[in-house]
Amino acid sequence: MADQNATAISAEHLVRRFGNFVAVNDVSFRVQKGEIFGFLGPNGSGKTTVIKMLTGLLPLSGGQATVEGVDVGKDPDAVREKIGYMSQNFSLYTDLTVTENLTFYGRVYGLSAERLRNRMDEVIQLNGLGPYLNRLSAQLSGGWKQRLALGCAMLHEPKLVFLDEPTAGIDPVARRQLWDLLFDLSGHGITFFVTTHYMDEAERCSHVAYIYYGKLIADGTPASLRELPDVQPVGTYRVEITTPEVTRALRIARTIPGIRSATIFGQSIHALVDDHFDIEHLREQLLKNGLVVGEIRPLAPSLEDVFVELTYKNQLAMEGARG
């Protein structure tokens, strides 16, 4: 048994039904303290539903969730004291200033006047909100709104913070800065539960899980996921093919024996090929079809490869189950 004191979230066989629809289907995972846990999946796959279950917003239809040592089903109020939550749209009061938003959330958590003052100073400094204190939050740009929302969620010094798509719709610089801040805070022992669509963000997480139509289909460190047999079957490796005409190249590549699967990634194609596959043969085939071919080189699978592969496998499995 893992050390209970080191566990921030333990989800066991979580189920959530809406009528006949099963939004979350037997999902189990464990998040250690101090981790940045990336929770990924397509839209509508149940990410936000899981967050709502773990934060006590939605009752569980089945299973058990323990958050910071408290059973969510039994005592959701006790959980709320211990966690911070930042929702997709930052949930700020736009007609209130930065200071007023912070003061409100501080009081909601029942901070004493003195502690509130101290914490506000800390949060303002940490998030660099100093120059904007008296500005209405409606007038802040996306990145600053997000920092303020994070500040509001962290005033009461939670040990665990849920961030639901914190970087949706903000610029790349602000995105980078947010992640730097998260690393900094996680270094101080704070656990983050982050949902995202961005694969580069997923790569930065210390632990990722992938949910697909209510089922958890991957759970581990990014490195361990790359080595999954489903992703990287024995006797195969990955290659990257650079070419300006990716769509045509893809069509051709898929007809070549030895290529098990192929997907477009920007100006290149990622292909899963048999161990004895001859790269030069592939180049010849493509050149013969009048394509300009750049570099063809072996490649370690990215997390995106991992998720594409797992999604594909699950789709097949689901169709098999239906048909």
Binding site: F18, K52, T55, G56, L57, L58, P59, D77, R80, E81, I83, Y85, S87, Q88, N89, S91, L92, Y93, T94, D95, L96, E100, T103, F104, Y105, R107, V108, Y109, G110, F162
Partner: protein, 374 residues
Amino acid sequence: MVNPFRGFGAVFYKEALHVRRDFGTLFFSLIIPLLQMFLLGFGIDTNVRQINTVVYNADGRRESRELLDRLRNSDTFRLYRFVNNDHDLNDAIISGKCRVGIKIPVDYSDRLLHQMDAQVLVLIDGSDSSVAGQAINVTTAIGLDESLRRVLPASDAKFAVDMRPKVLFNPDSRSPNFFLPGLTAILLLNVTTFLTAFSIVREKERGTLEQLFVTPVRPMGLLLGKLLPYLFIGFFELCMILTFMRWVFHVPIHGSVLLLAFLSLPYIFVSLSLGILISSKAGTQAQAMQLAFLTILPSIFFSGYIFPRETMPKFFYVLSYFVPATYFINITRGIILRGAGWAHLWMDGVALFLIGTILLIIAARRFQNKVILT
């Protein structure tokens, strides 16, 4: 033990800030009721006078003209149009130009002079019941009076039964005295219900409600925190309405103003709770608006403000006990017109407080079960 009012102070602080930021909206929501009172107070006369009347006088001699003078002098009728045939008489009523038609037959004077009974046709438009009632009463009374004058020989005759009606509290039948205390209740209801009707649904639309549910705020803390700032505003509005009523429309307040102020608090509380309940049911601000409008008409028509509750069918009479305005109209008319005191009105105050509490608990239960998010 969790404090069921947790978060009250924080929410109160935030709501007060919202009010201050959006001062323009507040200003309009406070000034519009006063404008309405101004219009209605000056424009509405509940006494029926000067009804447009069309006359077909086929006789035209002295007796018939005397009868018309008496009708004119009653102040009830305004002899607006004279016609020469039945068709025009009917037409004036059907077209809505006149509400009453009087036809004096060609032999009216002859019959009277020959000590025979004469008939006068009075056509009354029944589409407005108060006008029709007044027209019937006054024409009947004038007919009776005319008859008595002719039957009884001289002036020394006495009536056997002498009814002496005395109208208490509003001896001059001044319309504002009757009209404005009730209007106070309706105006106050409109302002306050609309103030809170958007409070929760707005947060639902912005997504901040979900955020609040992840904090330790308890439903009652949230609702009361949202309600209380508006209780002050509602109370302020009441003071303005009363000031207007007293000094612009000269409606005397016979009872204790302090008691009236005190008993207005549970009423404002009810209206705000109603707004909050609406807000928790509605999915969008537009829905909340429609629901809030739904409260207005029952408050006007089932509260006894316009039609006496006693004449309602049993079912609606019972229903009127669930309309908060019923109690407050009793309170305002009681204190302002009848000089009623605490002993007469405490039950109305308690009833209002209970209704408000029940509404608020229903709203809070919706939060407890989080139905509001799904």
